[in-house]
Every structure is written in structure tokens, then in C-alpha cells.
């Protein structure tokens, strides 16, 4: 996977979720994503940004235009230095939440993109990478 362009934005306060959505929309539009594809990746980003704030104590999002052969896509990498996730499989399952949400964030976001990778360990923070191909 080749990275053509990259930018990092902070994910800190509740308002920054709106900023994340706007940035992701801008980057998806630049790739010529269809409206449905745009909506899916923006929604996935919104879910993960909220997790980064609520559970990770804030962090950052790296946006990347990526290429693999003839395919172009948008890669989003959310990183936080929070407490991390002890049981990733459980956190991914629908309906499970350690907070007050619906427990749809991680599993839902995974369904909304083509590639989803989560790395986390207790005390190590969490990194979530998502790719939506055009």
C-alpha cells in the first residue's frame, strides 16, 4: 500500500468529532467517493473518534490517501495513549460497552469499512486503522 498524502488532526474535545467528520468528508470527496461510501466512512470515523475521546482520553487521527495497484482509498488511523483494551474480541462485539454507549461503535465501524485493524494492550493505548477503498 502506497501513501500519497497524509495529514494529522487532533481528536480531543467533544467538538473535535465534528471536525473529524468534516476532515474525513473532505478527504473522501477528494478521492471521488460516492455519497454512500462517504457516509459510511464518515460515520465509522465518528464512532471511533468518540471512542478515542471517551475511552482513550483523546488522541489523534492520521488521514491518508492510499493506493494499492489501481485501487485508491482513504485510510484513517486513530491513536490514543489511554488505558487500552484488555479484551479486544469482547470490545468488538455488538452490544458490549464499558461506558454508557450502545456498544455499536467498534463492530459497527468495522462493518462500514473494507479493512479494519485494532491494536491495543492494557496501559499501551489503542490504535485503530480503517481503510475504505473507492
Amino acid at each position: 500500500m502506497v501513501v500519497d498524502k497524509t495529514e494529522t488532526v487532533p481528536v480531543g474535545s467533544g467538538d473535535s468529532i465534528v471536525r473529524v467528520r468534516q476532515e474525513v468528508r473532505k478527504w473522501a470527496l477528494a478521492l471521488g467517493f460516492s455519497l454512500v461510501d462517504q457516509t459510511k466512512i464518515i460515520t465509522a470515523a465518528s464512532e471511533i473518534a468518540r471512542n478515542t475521546i471517551d475511552y482513550g482520553g483523546g488522541g489523534e487521527l492520521r488521514l491518508e490517501h492510499v493506493r494499492s495497484g489501481v485501487h485508491r482509498g482513504l485510510r484513517l488511523v486513530f491513536t490514543d495513549k489511554g488505558p487500552g483494551i484488555a479484551d479486544i474480541a469482547r470490545a468488538m462485539s455488538d452490544g458490549y460497552t464499558s461506558g454508557s454507549g450502545l456498544g455499536l461503535g467498534l463492530g459497527g465501524a468495522k462493518r462500514l469499512c473494507n479493512e479494519f485493524d485494532i491494536r491495543s494492550a492494557p496501559g499501551e493505548g489503542t490504535t485503530i486503522a480503517m481503510v475504505r477503498w473507492k
Binding site: G14, I17, V18, R50, L102, L104, A109, R111, L112
Partner: protein
Amino acid sequence: MEQIPILLVHDCLLVSIQVDMHDRLAMQLQDDLTNKIVKTRAKGVMIDISALEIVDSFIGRMLNNIAAMSRVLDAVTVVVGMQPAVAITLVELGLGLTGVRTALNVDKGLALIRRLIDGTGEATVGRRQD
């Protein structure tokens, strides 16, 4: 302070969400609507989301909560104008909005609310008996 306007028309509260909602604004709308239902004794609530480009689980939960709160306050809530791309995404996300009544547009939404309030629809079930 930023606030989403709530209009009272006859016995219905009308809300049109025209901004990209941050979470605090969503929570505030939920509180404002609940208070306004009691204050105005409104029987119906219509929420127009045609300008919303995404509905994530937080906004979805807000819509569910508003519908549930209005129900216990003897009012019906109808969400109107969801964009097709938003509907596709919501279902894939895993959020069916099962507790929320919907209509395609404002016109159909008002007609549905009228039917529900007048008790000619099936929604008389669970309504308070005065």
C-alpha cells in the same frame, strides 16, 4: 449559545436539524424537547433530519431517547427526511431505530402524527387513558 430551535404549531413541536450536531448539542436538544413537551402539552414531535449527512450511534441513541421520553409523556415522535445514504449506513452500523416512527418527508410526517394523535392509527396502544 448554540441551540436548535423548537417550534410549536398547534399541538405539535417541530424541529429541523440544520447543523452538524456535536454530542453536547444532541443532549441539549433531548433535554429541551422533553421540557417543551411538558410545558406546551404537545401531543406530537416531528424531527426533520433531511439536512443531516450522517447519523452515528450517538445521534441514533438521541432519536431513540426522544421517542421514548415523548411516549411516556403522552406524545408521539416522528422522524422525517432521512437521506438514503444515511439509512443504508445506519442499518449497516447495526442501528435499526426500532423505537422510532419515521416518514419520508414533512408532509407525510405531519399526516402520520395527526393520525396517531387522533387515535385512528395502531399507536393508541400504550397511550395514556385520561
